[in-house]
């Protein structure tokens, strides 16, 4: 059995091994200005349904928007989601074409007995990345090149347990190690001999813990409801400033709190094949500790989403044997730019999936077309096309008994 697990994991390992070679560039351009772009955790199926399938039981994957759905896993399951985005950023007369690469989630689910599943993995909470370059003319001297490098990544390592209480009720709890960092590096350099670069760098290291509880109720064979609550995350932040002249270096520490969040969702089967789903998520506005320039520009974040899925059947033509998914979501960011003008993401999504050839598991694809921000409200907008690929592989799971 162990050999089969490793052979099944081979594509995943190869996939991860090639990640550093990917031409990762900016995440959302707005992600420069706070913690980064918020990443909602969920499978590619969840994404194809416009982040709406919070209350849809999904027995194929361990990456779940609602951890309570993991209670239905009967096999050791490895799941991951990768995301590639192409975007056009417009600001005034300027336009830039960007690409993005992200690894939002990797999870492993261990069923220890029927209806009781442990999970561990990695989930990206916020991610931001930017490499900005400007030329500054210096009178009677060579032209200075100002380079800004921004890297932010807050992530969670959830240690979760999902339990199917009854045939219609599932609950899950998770203890979450919250870690991450934000690094801002500015460098002024010249393309001339005998000129040295001048660097100023701020590193902020975030560390904290949080809790999450979630539920899923199948109140009717065609109606399920879900709800979840995540505690606030009190981060301790170690801030370090380093400069080319080391005598200016300094360190400090402060606290940053990410408020608690809650969410609800529902899924309604119109027929056996056609299902509607919806999801609402909200978190209160964090205090802008560590971001004094954003005082007055941080508000509640809210996600509203809807989706419709036509599920697969085992017979019929090709399109009958694959699911078809369509969704829409609007995410109102914490960030307002400028003050009072929220940054909003609006996306239409669609996708499908198929069973993993060779064994239990699934490959899901999601295509997302949308816009972040608007020129009229924010002065900047991004027109985004994303492809999400979800991969789940499962194996039967049992404890090997050693023969004496």
């Amino acid at each position: 059995m162990r050999g089969r697990i490793f052979s099944r994991a081979l594509p995943v390992v190869l996939f991860l091994a090639f990640l550093p070679a990917a031409p990762a560039s900016a995440q959302s351009i707005f992600g420069l200005n706070f913690l980064g772009e918020h990443q909602f955790s969920g499978s590619a199926r969840y994404r194809a349904l416009g982040l709406s399938s919070f209350a849809v039981p999904d027995t194929a994957g361990a990456v779940a928007a609602n951890p309570a759905t993991m209670a239905d896993l009967s096999r050791l399951t490895f799941s991951m989601v990768e995301l590639v985005g192409l975007s056009t950023v417009r600001s005034g007369e300027e336009t830039a074409y960007e690409n993005r690469f992200q690894l939002p989630s990797v999870m492993l689910g261990f069923p220890v007995r029927k209806g009781l599943v442990f999970g561990v993995g990695y989930r990206t909470r916020f991610e931001g990345k930017g490499d900005l370059t400007y030329e500054r003319a210096i009178e009677d001297a060579a032209t200075a090149i100002e380079i800004y490098e921004h890297r932010s990544g807050l992530f969670t390592v959830p240690l979760s347990v999902a339990w199917r209480l009854t045939a219609w009720a599932r609950v899950a709890g998770a203890f979450q190690l919250e870690r991450g960092s934000i690094r801002d590096n500015t460098r002024v350099e010249f393309r001339a001999a005998s000129y040295n670069a001048v660097e100023s760098r701020r590193d902020r290291s975030f560390s904290g813990t949080s809790w999450n509880v979630s539920t899923l109720f199948q109140v009717h064979p065609r109606l399920s409801l879900g709800a979840a609550w995540s505690s606030e995350t009190a981060y301790g932040v170690d801030e370090t400033f380093t400069y080319t002249r080391a005598e200016f270096d300094s360190t400090s520490r402060y606290d940053f709190t990410l408020p608690s969040s809650w969410e609800i969702g529902g899924a309604l089967g119109i027929t056996d094949r056609w299902w509607l789903s919806s999801h609402y998520w909200q978190r209160g506005a964090p205090r802008p500790d560590g971001f004094p320039q954003l005082a007055g520009s941080i508000a509640d974040e809210r996600l509203v989403s809807f989706g419709i899925e036509r599920r697969r059947v085992q017979s019929g033509g090709f399109f009958s044997r694959i699911p078809l998914r369509l969704g829409f979501f609007e995410d109102r960011w914490h960030l307002e730019y400028p003050d009072g003008r929220p940054v909003k993401s609006r996306f239409v999504t669609f996708g499908s999936g198929f069973s993993l050839p060779g064994g239990p598991g699934a490959v899901d694809l999601s295509f997302e077309i949308g816009q972040i921000g608007s020129v009229s409200d924010n002065g900047v907008d991004e027109r985004v096309f994303r492809i999400a690929l979800g991969l789940s592989a499962s194996e039967a799971w049992s404890i090997r008994k050693v023969k004496r």
Binding site: A22, D131, L132, T186, Y337, G358
Partner: protein, 391 residues
């Protein structure tokens, strides 16, 4: 199982085919209005005037492998001093000289077919290669005559052996006449770009020598043991000269540079007078293979007092070379020094520019001393980035 692997290369190919534009222009507004919260410190260029002066540093300069007589690029090679070892070989003691020739191994004349008129005069006091000689030592004004009584000779590539009075040579060999050396002097002021160059004993072969024939038919040669070219400058200026040890002292006050400045680059900027610059003579280039570049050494002296011996040594700041025969502005990098004085890691004692071949070669770099092209210090610095953010 194999059928699922296609997805990996397909997805990687898609990912790797992507590329991004620079993000600077579209995100400039976030930095300009402070939303991003980080802003690079301002970058500035400042110019600080330099108080520059030429300082003469007495140092021995007698070890050059070539001796020179004439005029080049405002440098006057006024005299060649030669001193011979007239100790006779075993068996030659007490012999009388019947004829004597002063052999001067000329290697190069410039221009071609130059005929330089010279006299040979006895020095009244001795010298050595280790001395620092910036003026012709006292000499007997009566030149040494040849066998025909002539006192003025023509020195050229084709004329390198000169009869000299056997009475004088007999006196030197016997010890009855003191030998402090001889000076080869101009008999007439040569043209401004003319010189002859000959081997010094440091060249390693065919040194200047006094060759004699004794009355018994035997012969001997007495080579030079000390030889020296005496040089002076036609016009004084802001000169850095090797061979006669002229250095340029530069002092400046960096007050006004912010304490938090971080230096990108800093330069001592000098405007060179190419018509007064000499990297190497023709002979040094053709025979010795020397570069025509002026190799400089810039240091921060241990003392700013030009009369102190500590002024002559210090901490190296830069060493490199430039062509001194080209009229151009040169920038000598001094970033580390300026960084140190801004950080108060060292005292600002100024900078001293010298030839890095000061002891062995006569090189000259001449600079404009005043006016719009006077020396100055250029500093390009940035302030640390502002991480506070403001809107």
């Amino acid at each position: 199982m194999k059928s699922k692997y296609w997805i990996i290369p397909a997805f990687l190919a898609f990912v790797l085919s992507c590329s991004s534009d620079p993000e600077g222009p579209v995100s400039a507004r976030f930095i300009d209005d402070g939303t991003y919260g980080i802003k690079s410190g301002e970058t500035r260029r400042v110019v600080i005037p330099v108080n520059a002066m030429t300082v003469s540093v007495p140092l021995g300069v007698g070890t050059s492998p070539f001796l020179n007589l004439g005029r080049q690029k405002g440098i006057e090679y006024r005299a060649i001093l030669l001193k011979f070892d007239f100790t006779p070989a075993s068996g030659d003691e007490g012999k009388a000289v019947s004829s004597a020739v002063l052999h001067l191994p000329v290697q190069v004349e410039s221009p071609e077919n130059l005929k330089m008129l010279v006299t040979f005069n006895e020095l009244l006091s001795s010298f050595s290669d280790a001395d620092s000689i910036t003026a012709i030592p006292s000499y007997d004004p009566r030149p040494i005559a040849d066998s025909l009584g002539r006192t003025v000779d023509t020195l050229s590539f084709k004329s390198t052996d000169f009869d000299i009075d056997t009475t004088v040579v007999n006196g030197w060999i016997s010890g009855r006449r003191p030998h402090n050396g001889i000076a080869i002097l101009w008999a007439a002021v040569p043209d401004s770009a003319s010189s002859v160059e000959m081997n010094a004993h440091e060249y390693g072969s065919d040194p200047p020598a006094v060759r004699v024939n004794f009355t018994d038919g035997s012969s001997a040669a007495f080579g030079s043991i000390d030889d020296y070219t005496v040089v002076r400058l036609e016009r004084s200026g802001l000169d850095c000269v090797g061979g006669i040890a002229r250095r340029i002292s530069c002092s400046f006050d960096p007050a006004g540079i912010p304490a938090r400045a971080i230096v990108h680059a800093s330069f001592l900027v000098l405007r060179m007078r190419g018509d007064q610059g000499l990297g190497a003579t023709v002979g040094e280039q053709l025979i010795l293979g020397y570069s025509s570049l002026f190799t400089y050494y810039l240091y921060a002296p241990d003392s700013a007092d030009t009369l102190s011996t500590d002024f002559r040594k210090g901490t190296g700041v830069a060493r490199n070379s430039f062509d001194p025969a080209v009229s151009a502005t040169i920038k000598l990098p001094i970033r580390a020094y300026v960084t140190d004085i801004l950080a108060k890691a060292r005292v600002n004692t100024g900078l001293v520019l010298q030839s890095d071949r000061e002891l062995t070669r006569i090189q000259r770099a001449s600079f404009v001393a005043d006016g719009a092209e006077a020396p100055y210090i250029e500093i390009i610095y940035s302030l640390p980035a502002d991480f506070g953010g403001s809107r």
